[in-house]
């Protein structure tokens, strides 16, 4: 069995405005290296909320979160930013590319922020990632010149640039048509199979979820099936 890379221990979260509503109730689960996990559930069941807690962006929760066996609680904002930079790659429903930069530069940004490799190396690696995703020809275009599917692939490349421990996706195919969804799914699958990349994808596309290694189903803030 592979080592555990992400572990949630009794994570609860409540929204207090306007009235206190508990959206997550003692969620506990763990992920191993190389797992391709999908989280499904109806709208409002708390799956996205869970993902944002797991991604360290949301810090207002109870319970414990361990990434790479390091507890995330009580870490400072800057330290969490570093964790996100090093260990987590994010793909959102919307691509969130910066139109001021070229595609290549967009992919490079988290790598440059990491600051381990020289700019030249980062550029080379970013180009490799784009190649894996089959969009190396668009490297020097601006994101707004790309199609929706291409943009999402650039976003995936950006998530991959620092060779993260885990890639998290929040409805990464939610905005895409059937064909592009398939392309994106195939990419995820390839990453999981060929590169042994761990993935945690929130989706409400059951067809998508069915093809992953493991499905976590949520309802009313609780995991009902793992």
């Amino acid at each position: 069995m592979n080592e555990i890379i992400l572990e949630a221990k009794a994570i609860s979260k409540s929204f207090h405005d306007p009235i206190t509503v508990q959206v997550l109730k003692e969620i506990s689960f763990s992920m191993h290296k190389g797992d391709f996990v999908s989280v499904i559930g109806k709208s409002g069941c708390g799956k996205s909320t869970l993902l944002y807690i797991l991604s360290t962006m949301d810090t207002d929760y109870e319970g414990d979160l361990l990434i790479d066996n390091v507890p995330m609680r009580n870490k400072k904002e800057a330290e969490l930013a570093k964790v996100r930079n090093e260990k987590i790659g994010f793909v959102f429903q919307f691509h969130y590319l910066l139109n001021e930069f070229s595609v290549l530069r967009n992919v490079m940004l988290p790598g440059l922020k990491l600051g381990i490799h020289s700019e030249k190396e980062v550029e080379e690696r970013a180009y490799q990632k784009l190649k894996i995703l089959g969009i190396e020809n668009e490297a020097f275009k601006k994101p707004n010149q790309l199609s929706g599917g291409q943009k999402q692939r650039v976003a995936i490349a950006r998530a991959l640039i620092n060779n993260p421990l885990i890639i998290m996706g929040d409805e990464p195919t939610g905005n895409l048509d059937k064909k592009n969804s398939e392309i994106v799914f195939n990419i995820f699958q390839e990453l999981a199979e060929v590169y042994n990349q761990s993935l945690l994808i929130v989706t409400h596309d059951n067809e998508f979820a069915a093809q992953t290694h493991r499905i976590i189903e949520m309802e009313d803030g609780k995991i009902i099936k793992m």
Binding site: M57, A81, K82, F92, Q93, F94, Y96, E100
Partner: protein
């Protein structure tokens, strides 16, 4: 490496809205330009007006004044020592205006290292006789060379050569106003009568224009020997000793010291012309206030533009944070944007300010009152440029500080979930 990345992101964000950025930078440029120009011009004017007085006023002046004796005989009478004595109708005592033993005083002064130079002077009340009409006036007997060295006498002699006063016996340089009244041309001989009733013929060798018209109507200059002759006094007769110090600020202290030491009256420049210093400082304060106001207005412009940029770039900020940029990094990015607007706008402002000052410096400014001034006065003090650049950086920093803090506190979850 890390700062290079922040710089490159700032640059891209700046260039993405380059028109707005330019407007913000122009705001800073304009205010710095006006700040520099205003201060240079104002301070040039101040210096000019101050010099009008300071150049021609001795830092310390030693003289004798006709005044009542401070100690009355009754004060010396032992029986009434402890009484308060009232003496009515005191009259000034008969005292000569001459400074006694002035040769020794001058010798002592010349040895004093704090003294830059000394110019002896005689002030004589006269009446200019023009046909049947008499005009009152004052003739200053001066040591022409010393006077020129210390008080720039040459600058104020508008017609004729100042040195002729020394070289031509019995010559006079008339105040312009007095000369106009008397219709006296260069080379004419005018007649003056002293208060004692002696008459003397003097040859006009030049006109003198001080900038103060009332003064020019009465004052004229003659060499010290001519003045002594006019007064019928010996060649040791001097009524004033004008002293210029190395450090003007020490004048009040030195004046008191000399008063005791030489037993004469002594007045310092600060006491004699206190109103000028007040005027200068008030003008300076006003120009600083206007300049700072301009900068603050420009600062609000930057604040607005950054705020708008942050609203527009909310998504970008969120994604930067999601991919591992900390709040501090985001803060730095926007501070960098603000500071680059400040640096760019500020340095342009310094250049334009210098240019505009230069243009003003070329504008002719001829006034009868100021014979030495040909163009508007400008003070190119590097201090103003220093203050201008520091101010531009400080205001833009603060204009960027609040929007940056706001940007750094943006919660990426809210933005990303909001879509």
């Amino acid at each position: 490496m890390k700062y290079k990345l922040i710089l490159s992101i700032s640059k891209s964000l700046l260039l993405a809205r380059w028109k707005q950025t330019l407007v913000a930078a122009i705001g800073v440029t304009f205010s710095i330009t006006m700040f520099i120009t205003l201060l240079s011009f104002m301070s040039g004017l101040n210096d000019m007006l101050d010099n009008l007085i300071i150049n021609r006023t001795p830092h310390v002046r030693l003289y004798n004044e006709i005044q009542p004796s401070k100690i009355q005989p009754i004060d010396n009478y032992s029986q009434y020592k402890n009484y308060h004595n009232f003496v009515s109708s005191i009259k000034p005592k008969n005292e000569r205006l001459e400074i006694y033993n002035n040769a020794a005083i001058i010798k002592a002064l010349k040895k004093d290292i704090r003294v830059l130079g000394i110019a002896p002077k005689i002030t004589a009340q006269v009446i200019y006789n023009v046909g049947a009409i008499d005009i009152t006036g004052v003739i200053n007997g001066i040591d022409v060379e010393a006077e020129n060295k210390l008080f720039f006498f040459k600058d104020y002699v508008t017609t004729g050569n100042y040195i002729d006063l020394k070289n031509t016996p019995n010559s006079i340089i008339l105040g312009k106003g007095a000369a106009d009244k008397m219709l006296a041309n260069i080379g004419d001989v005018i007649q003056v009568t002293t208060t004692k009733g002696d008459r003397m013929q003097l040859k006009v060798v030049g006109y003198f224009q001080s900038g103060l018209q009332d003064l020019d109507k009465v004052q004229s200059y003659a060499s010290i020997t001519t003045a002594q002759k006019l007064m019928g006094e010996s060649n040791s007769f001097i009524t004033d000793i004008q002293i210029k110090l190395k450090d003007m600020r020490s004048a009040p202290v030195i004046a008191i010291e000399y008063q005791k030491l030489f037993e004469v009256e002594a007045i310092d420049i600060q006491t004699a012309n206190s109103q000028f210093e007040t005027g200068s400082s008030v003008r300076t304060i006003i120009s600083y206030a206007v300049g700072v106001t301009l900068l603050i207005v420009a600062g609000f412009g930057i604040y607005n533009i950054l705020n708008m940029m942050i609203y527009e770039k909310m998504d970008s900020i969120a994604i930067l944070k999601a991919t591992g940029f900390s709040g501090k990094d985001v803060n730095r990015i926007f501070i960098t944007i603000a500071l680059s607007i400040g640096i760019f706008g500020g340095s342009m402002g310094l250049i334009f300010g210098f240019g505009l000052s230069n243009v003003i410096d070329q504008i002719p400014f001829n006034t009868a009152a100021l014979p030495t001034i040909k163009t508007f006065p400008i003070n190119y003090n590097p201090k103003f440029y220093m203050i201008g650049s520091i101010f531009s950086l400080v205001t833009t920093y603060f204009a960027g500080y609040f929007p940056s803090r706001k940007a750094s506190k943006i919660d990426p979850v809210i933005i990303i979930r909001g879509k």
